[in-house]
């Protein structure tokens, strides 16, 4: 008998989750459309004045991307819970934190990455000055994994519940506020011609910390809410 190795288990989780997203690729577009619609709402709500839009562009895109991701978080473990796969993951002898880390990575890859890719389009909608765009993209690239990671911990806490949608929002948002402040702050600094490296470095440091701690916390939370 040949028990599976941990790396094989991680590969299996990665492959399966990617395959599932591909099979349900219609759903995968939803967060994209949501973000686009939210961003598109603002010119309607504020009027088409370019100076105003320009000023709020980076912040609004940031908020829209985070909200769009937030709304997909709920599904991170739900289908696995409903069909019993989650039980199989937990009961497998591999480190649960590692397996969850793989799931979180796929979540980021399939929701945040497309959002980052359309960010230039969103920036265009709100007339973000072109030089700020790279900063916005780097900030998003640092902040979105943070949301995936922190969100996963909160989802793991609420996974057994019947209607967790809004509660999840309530749990995640306070924890993600600093990422928002630093990320959007970097963009605003860049837009005003100030130095923007410091907030990005803070984000990066925090991301590294989360990558280490969040999967462990998510695993612990999951064990609590499955018991």
């Amino acid at each position: 008998m040949k028990p599976g190795t941990t790396s094989a288990a991680c590969a299996a989780v990665l492959r399966r989750d990617l395959m599932l997203v591909w099979r349900r690729r219609g759903d995968a577009l939803n967060p994209l459309l949501f973000a686009i619609i939210v961003v598109a709402c603002f010119p309607f709500a504020l009027g088409p004045e370019a100076a105003v839009l320009e000023r709020i562009a980076a912040g609004t895109i940031f908020v829209a991307v985070l909200l769009a991701m937030l709304l997909t978080l709920d599904a991170l473990f739900r289908s696995d819970l409903e069909d019993g796969s989650l039980e199989q993951l937990v009961v497998s002898p591999h480190p649960l934190a590692l397996l969850l880390g793989c799931k979180i990575f796929i979540h980021w890859l399939t929701t945040a990455l497309p959002l980052i890719i359309v960010a230039p389009l969103l920036a265009q909608l709100l007339q973000l000055p072109a030089p700020v765009l790279p900063v916005l993209i780097i900030a998003l690239a640092l902040a979105t994994p943070l949301l995936s990671l922190i969100g996963a911990v909160c989802v793991a806490l609420t996974v057994g519940m019947r209607r967790s949608g809004m509660l999840l929002t309530l749990l995640v948002l306070p924890l993600i506020v600093p990422a928002l402040i630093f990320g959007a702050g970097a963009c605003n600094a860049a837009q005003n011609g100030f130095a923007y490296a410091a907030p990005l470095l803070w984000l990066a440091a925090w991301l590294v910390l989360s990558i280490i701690i969040a999967p462990l916390a998510a695993a612990a939370a999951l064990k609590i809410s499955l018991s």
Partner: protein, 230 residues
């Protein structure tokens, strides 16, 4: 693998095992052991705690008191083993994926018994030709067979099966009995639950009966439970 299987120790041992939810005992102190080659049936009414017992034995739930020993070593959520395969109420299959893809995931997670392939196993549960069909288009009985195929694939000595006969027609029930027999002959052990009166062809297995806790212990007595006790 850590403990060699030919020791006299039991494969699985429950020592005064209790589980309570909200301080209400779900099942009382249980003591039993299971050796290789044995199949044991856990009986009890709806809500008597069969599923909960299997979850405790697989390490998914921590017992309130008592211990679960696997080859003599304690089994906890922090220290699980490849030796245990759990087939719960929920099959743990993805309806969007095909039988083969589901089995590949299972072997990635649990390893694979040498000399066997997913194709072979699917054939042996009567699903040749359905390898690449998404499970969504299979019937409930066929899905159950895919879940059983997983058991044949992974190298676990202890099977914990929750209601393995549910959703299966007569051919399916025979299949489960054959699988259990083979597993026992190979030296494996299995614990299965049931509240129905299914045809258990392979002789009469040892039984563990769970009882619904006395109604006085709970404020209100659900209707069904009263019916079952009458």
């Amino acid at each position: 693998m850590h403990d060699s299987a030919d020791e006299p120790r039991a494969l699985l041992q429950a020592q005064s095992l209790c589980f309570a939810r909200n301080d209400e005992a779900i099942f009382g102190p249980l003591d039993f052991s299971l050796h290789g080659g044995e199949t044991v049936l856990i009986e009890g009414d709806n809500g008597s705690g069969k599923t909960t017992l299997l979850k405790v034995l697989s390490g998914l739930l921590e017992p309130t008191s008592g211990k679960v020993l696997l080859h003599g070593a304690p089994l906890t959520l922090a220290k699980l083993s490849h030796q245990v395969a759990l087939l719960g109420h929920l099959p743990g299959l993805k309806l969007e994926l095909s039988a083969l893809e589901n089995l590949r995931f299972a072997t990635g997670l649990g390893g694979i018994r040498p000399g066997i392939t997913p194709h072979l196993v699917l054939a042996s549960v009567g699903l040749e030709g359905f390898e690449d069909t998404p499970l969504r288009t299979l019937s409930a009985g066929q899905r159950k067979r895919v879940a059983l195929a997983r058991l044949l694939l992974v190298p676990a000595a202890l099977w914990l099966l929750d209601e393995p006969y549910a959703n299966l027609d007569r051919g399916g029930i025979d299949l489960v009995n054959r699988l259990l027999d083979n597993h026992a002959h190979r030296g494996g052990a299995a614990l299965i639950t049931s509240h129905g009166a299914y045809a258990f062809t392979s002789g009469t297995p040892r039984r563990i009966a769970l009882h619904v806790p006395p109604p006085a212990q709970r404020g209100e007595v659900p209707e069904e439970r009263r019916g079952a006790e009458a």
